[in-house]
């Protein structure tokens, strides 16, 4: 009950306009196909129903589709935009109506008896618009009396749209590069570039921690094969160094490796396509097989963790390797006393942002909190938190779409920014590449008085390295450099 009390009353007291001007976002499309859109959509829908298991789901949903509208209070996008087209239920109904009209017996009868719903290009355009206004945070699912998974339906809608070519350019280009490009990663980081980065990071760590080390690449028969969002190599080196520091300090330096053929944990298929999701997962697992690794270790990335954790077993069956998020690994080390964190290093007020993909839709809620509490004194919770947490506003792949920056700032992230401001924390811990990027932009946009960091950025500062420089000394050094 408390969850929503803090939500700002974003809906203006005057009623929302019922039919806002139609805004199609052609800019985030690769190209909008013009010919026979309706026919091709229906054919794609038919084929998807034929080969996948969505049919019972759609059948069940359309039959218990009571449209009670209670999901509206839970949607951060709707709260901020006030546009009724953002109602999760409305979005779901778009797809269910098409299903009912064209693929069921009673829909056929209804279409004969009444003035039937007909699929038009406008409706497909509308879907192209509003399916990509959802951050797929699945917060609405928690308040739905019937337990509708609006996130899943949105995903199915995006899948169908992608089959007729309506897909955000950013996602399409990235996935194309990942699956068919030479570099096999979304950010087109070439292998040489990766090796350079790793050498640079090794030097950096040597300088900072006072130990000599070399990143293990392409080593076979290791326990952990490490994947992180490939953007981390370029944009979040601190997180990576934190990861490496934990591995080094725990004495597992000989047990992990980074594959050089495929080092990207990102899986945009989770957001919009079964086909890509499965192929990317297969690519990931084939890399593990190539290295004869035993576990998949995912860095600080929400959707990569969830995609690997949930879908490696789904698609690979029995031979699937187990999947670990790095925070689980770290927590395990802390619990076993294999690493120690200096509780006096971090003195700022810290808050923790739950990434939707691993908190609400996943399994990591208490683990990071336990890590944080073990070495940070001033920790405040956001409200709401955990499973009820508000989305950062960049979920569902939106954060990769640069053209949607304004939408992300003005609408999708508005509630989150308000929430961050209310906590009064100086450091926001966001253990997810997507969230980090979105939150950083939010902090800039709203000029919030806080910094966004990964959990392992903090750990890097506080970790005791055996035989290396102690954390307090490092802090003093850093202060000196800063001066």
């Amino acid at each position: 009950m408390e969850t929503a009390t803090v939500l700002p009353a974003a809906i203006p007291a005057t009623e929302m306009t019922e039919t806002p001007s139609r805004r199609v976002f052609p800019y985030h499309l690769l190209e909008r196909p013009d010919d026979e859109l309706v026919d091709r959509f229906l054919e794609a829908f038919g084929r998807v129903l034929e080969f996948t298991d969505y049919k019972p789901l759609l059948d069940s949903y359309r039959r218990s589709n009571t449209k009670c509208n209670r999901c509206a209070v839970a949607c951060p996008v709707l709260q901020a935009s006030g546009d009724p087209k953002d109602i999760p239920c409305y979005r779901t109904n778009l797809l269910l109506d098409i299903y009912e009209r064209y693929f069921t017996l009673d829909g056929w009868f209804k279409s004969r008896l009444t003035n039937a719903f007909e699929l038009t290009e406008e409706i497909i355009d509308e879907m192209g618009d509003i399916f990509y206004r959802c951050t797929a945070c699945r917060r609405c699912t928690r308040v739905c009396p019937l337990g509708f998974d609006h996130g899943l339906i949105t995903r199915l809608g995006r899948y169908l749209l992608s089959l007729i070519g309506i897909v955000p350019k950013a996602l399409q280009v990235s996935v194309q590069e990942q699956l068919e490009g030479e570099t096999h990663n979304t950010s087109k980081v070439p292998r040489a570039g990766l090796i350079d980065v790793l050498e640079f990071l090794a030097e950096e760590m040597e300088e900072m921690l006072g130990v000599e080390l070399e990143f293990p690449t392409d080593k076979v028969d290791r326990d952990y094969v490490f994947f992180c969002a490939v953007s981390d190599y370029l944009m979040e080196p601190d997180t990576l160094m934190g990861n490496a520091a934990v591995l080094y300090a725990s004495g597992d330096w000989d047990r992990w490796t980074i594959g050089l053929c495929n080092y990207d944990g990102i899986n945009y298929g989770l957001f919009y396509s079964d086909w890509h999701l499965e192929n990317i997962i297969k690519q990931l697992v084939s890399e593990v097989d190539r290295l004869r690794g035993r576990n998949i270790l995912i860095g600080e990335c929400g959707h990569a963790s969830r995609a690997a954790h949930d879908f490696v077993p789904t698609f690979m069956g029995r031979k699937a390797p187990p999947v670990l998020n790095f925070m689980e690994y770290t927590l395990d080390c802390i619990r076993k006393g294999r690493i120690t964190l200096d509780p006096n290093v971090i003195t700022e007020r810290v808050t923790y942002h739950d990434p939707c993909n691993i908190a609400r839709s996943g399994w990591i809620i208490e683990q990071p909190r336990e890590i944080i509490r073990s070495f940070i004194g001033d920790f405040v919770e956001m409200t709401p938190k955990g499973s009820d947490n508000l989305c950062c506003g960049g979920g569902g792949g939106l954060v990769s779409i640069d053209e949607m920056h304004e939408f992300r700032m003005e609408i999708a992230g508005k509630m989150k920014a308000e929430q961050l401001r209310q906590t009064g924390a100086e450091i926001v811990v966001a253990p997810c590449a997507n969230c980090k990027k979105q939150l950083k932009e939010l902090v800039d946009y709203y000029e919030l008085p806080c910094r966004v960091m990964g959990l392992h950025d903090l750990i890097l500062q506080a970790i005791e390295i055996p035989g290396g420089i102690s954390p307090m000394e490092r802090k003093e050094q850093a202060a000196l450099y800063a001066i």
Partner: protein
């Protein structure tokens, strides 16, 4: 594929209706669901499904005889279908029989309890054994498909022996089925009764059984593999041009499917047998002298004539005529005619032939039709399942099986929705179930639930948990009255007041005297105790020496006095005030009427209410609407019940 699919859907619908009928038969009993009576104890299930069904499934034994014993290898391709048909035919007979026997849970009794003098016992054992034999014969086909080669090979190696056993069993029980009716020389119509019945049964079954497999082969070809029978062009005509014209080469030359010669050969053999049957039948009529009944012009003689034409005449004509027999359609018609003739013959012998003696007519009830046809439909489904999944017939069509079809934009026709949206068979079948089962239920439940009349003794009173109110439906007609029980109790003086009302008996209350007459409040009852009277007369000291026969009534009931035959009148004349509610002039038996519960209640409630109405000065207390709350009721009452009150 579409045609098969539609056929399957129809079969599913029929089978489900049959399922509902079977359920009701088990639930309500034979008497409620069938039109069988003591006069006609064997009905559609036994005669059509069991006797005719078994007869038509002779294919297994006849084709087995031709192929294995006579070594006519050209009929080999029909062996597997013939065995499948026999298996399904016997299976569906057994299934229907399970519903037909009065105590289905004792179906195993004949295994343990033997009476070797009974023809039915012989039939039972032969049918069970032959069913096993067909299962064994079917075995290799199934085991090969399931890749259990060793069992299949073993079964294959004993095939000849099994076939011989099967033929012996078959010939035994087909004749025994005829012998079943030998025990009724007094009752069966002479046209059909003959001491040669066993012979007639086995000959006709052999001929029609062969025709049946011809029919099935042609139907199968129409569904799956048209070219094998109808030829590449697939024209359908009954009469072909004479051979001479075709030889003239005027473009009328007709190509025929490669299986046609085989079918024509089989049909010729069948027709010969049926011809022999017809001739034997006629000779038997002449010898026994029953031919007089044939020219008597009764409906039985017409039926007999029709049966003979269908069974022997028409097929012989169609097959012997060279202009028709090479046409698959005509051959199919001949086969169909023979099969229906066989059915008719068995129905005649089993059902129609008894009407004259029994003096009763029998027409199967809805449930009987539904179950009979449902069982056959289920067998049809099983047949389609087997031919689609096992190598029973030729397999050409399997290779030609096309893709399901592209999803085109024309999503609008019903068949498109039916075939694509409901793409899985399960979904289509469940839709059929949702439509058919409630429909069959809705039709049959009201029909049969009332037929057993047991319901009527249950109490007609509902009580709420607070016991403030009763809901009374005296006549069980659905018209209820709410009775404020707590109010009455309070007004009459609390706990001790119960007996001021509860001396009346409720329906089913066996402790009070009312039960003697109002035993079934709703149904008609018979009040006059004839047994009691005769006993009283016989035991009376006063009337000693008087002959207590039926003519002795007048000893007590003198003419002209009350209770004499002359002065007797319908109950209605005296109990008029009790029966004012219902119209009694509908011509039903006067004996049947006595006071119903509703009327009893009215007589108890209304006077008291009127009395109280005076006392408490509430005029409306005595109106019907006080209890019934219905304006219509008030109208009726003002017109009929209390015309003199206002």
């Amino acid at each position: 594929m579409r045609r098969t699919r539609t056929l399957k859907d129809i079969l599913w619908a029929l089978a489900m209706a049959g399922l509902v009928a079977g359920m009701f038969r088990l639930w309500f009993g034979l008497g409620a669901t069938t039109n069988l009576t003591d006069a006609v104890p064997w009905g559609l299930w036994k005669i059509l499904n069991m006797i005719a069904g078994v007869a038509i499934s002779t294919s297994g034994f006849t084709i087995g005889f031709l192929v294995y014993v006579l070594k006519l290898e050209r009929f080999r391709p029909l062996m597997k279908p013939a065995i499948l048909l026999a298996f399904l035919g016997y299976g569906c007979s057994c299934l229907a029989l399970l519903f037909d026997i009065g105590l289905p849970f004792r179906f195993w009794h004949p295994f343990l309890m033997w009476n070797e003098h009974s023809f039915l016992f012989e039939v039972f054992w032969c049918v069970i054994l032959y069913f096993t034999v067909t299962a064994i014969e079917l075995g290799p086909t199934i085991f090969e498909k399931l890749r259990i080669e060793r069992v299949a090979e073993y079964l294959h190696s004993i095939a000849f022996g099994v076939v011989v056993v099967g033929i012996s069993l078959s010939s035994l029980h087909h004749s025994s089925l005829g012998s079943l009716f030998l025990v009724t020389p007094q009752r069966l119509h002479p046209l059909w009764y003959s001491s040669l019945l066993p012979l007639f049964f086995i000959i006709s079954a052999m001929g029609a059984g062969m025709m049946f497999i011809v029919l099935i082969k042609i139907l199968y070809a129409r569904l799956y593999n048209r070219e094998s029978v109808f030829g590449p062009k697939g024209e359908e005509t009954i009469f072909l041009a004479p051979l001479s014209e075709r030889k003239a080469g005027n473009g009328n030359h007709r190509s025929v499917g490669r299986d046609m010669p085989m079918l024509i050969g089989l049909a010729s053999i069948a027709v010969s047998i049926l011809g022999v049957f017809g001739i034997l039948q006629i000779i038997d009529l002449l010898v026994s002298g029953s031919w007089r009944a044939l020219i008597a012009g009764t409906w039985e003689s017409w039926l007999f004539g029709l049966e003979m034409i269908l069974l022997a005449g028409l097929p012989s004509f169609l097959v012997w005529n060279p202009r028709t027999r090479r046409s698959p359609t005509a051959l199919g018609m001949a086969a169909f005619s023979a099969c229906s003739g066989l059915m008719l013959n068995r129905l005649d012998v089993g059902i129609f032939g008894y009407f004259r003696n029994a003096g009763a007519f029998y027409f199967p009830s809805l449930a009987e039709w539904a179950l009979s046809i449902g069982v056959i439909a289920a067998a049809g489904l099983a047949f389609l399942f087997f031919v689609e999944n096992f190598p029973i017939f030729d397999e050409e069509w399997r290779n030609r099986r096309k893709d399901m079809g592209v999803f085109r934009a024309s999503f609008d026709s019903l068949s498109r929705v039916w075939n694509t949206a409901l793409s899985s068979g399960l979904e289509r079948t469940t839709v059929i179930a949702v439509l058919v089962i409630p429909l069959a239920w809705g039709i049959m439940y009201p029909m049969y639930s009332r037929a057993d009349g047991i319901e009527a003794i249950e109490p007609a009173v509902g009580l709420d948990i607070t016991r403030t109110e009763l809901c009374i439906d005296g006549n069980k007609t659905g018209v209820t009255t709410n009775f404020p029980h707590a109010d009455h109790r309070e007004r009459l003086g609390g706990e001790s007041s119960c007996r001021s009302c509860h001396h009346m008996s409720l329906p089913g209350d066996e402790t009070t005297a009312c039960f003697r007459c109002h035993r079934q409040m709703v149904q008609s009852t018979l009040i006059f105790d004839h047994t009691g009277h005769t006993r009283a007369v016989a035991e009376s000291e006063q009337l000693k020496g008087i002959h207590p026969s039926n003519h002795s009534c007048a000893v007590c009931h003198h003419e002209g006095e009350a209770k004499s035959a002359e002065s007797s009148k319908p109950c209605l004349d005296c109990h008029k005030e009790d029966t004012a509610w219902a119209e009694r002039s509908d011509g039903e038996d006067d004996l049947a009427y006595a006071v119903s519960y509703m009327e009893a209640m009215h007589n108890n409630c209304i006077p008291c209410h009127r009395e109280k109405a005076e006392e408490v000065d509430r005029k409306t207390l005595g109106d019907c609407s006080t209890c019934h709350r219905s304006l219509v009721a008030r109208q009726i009452v003002s017109e009929t019940l209390v015309p003199d009150d206002h």
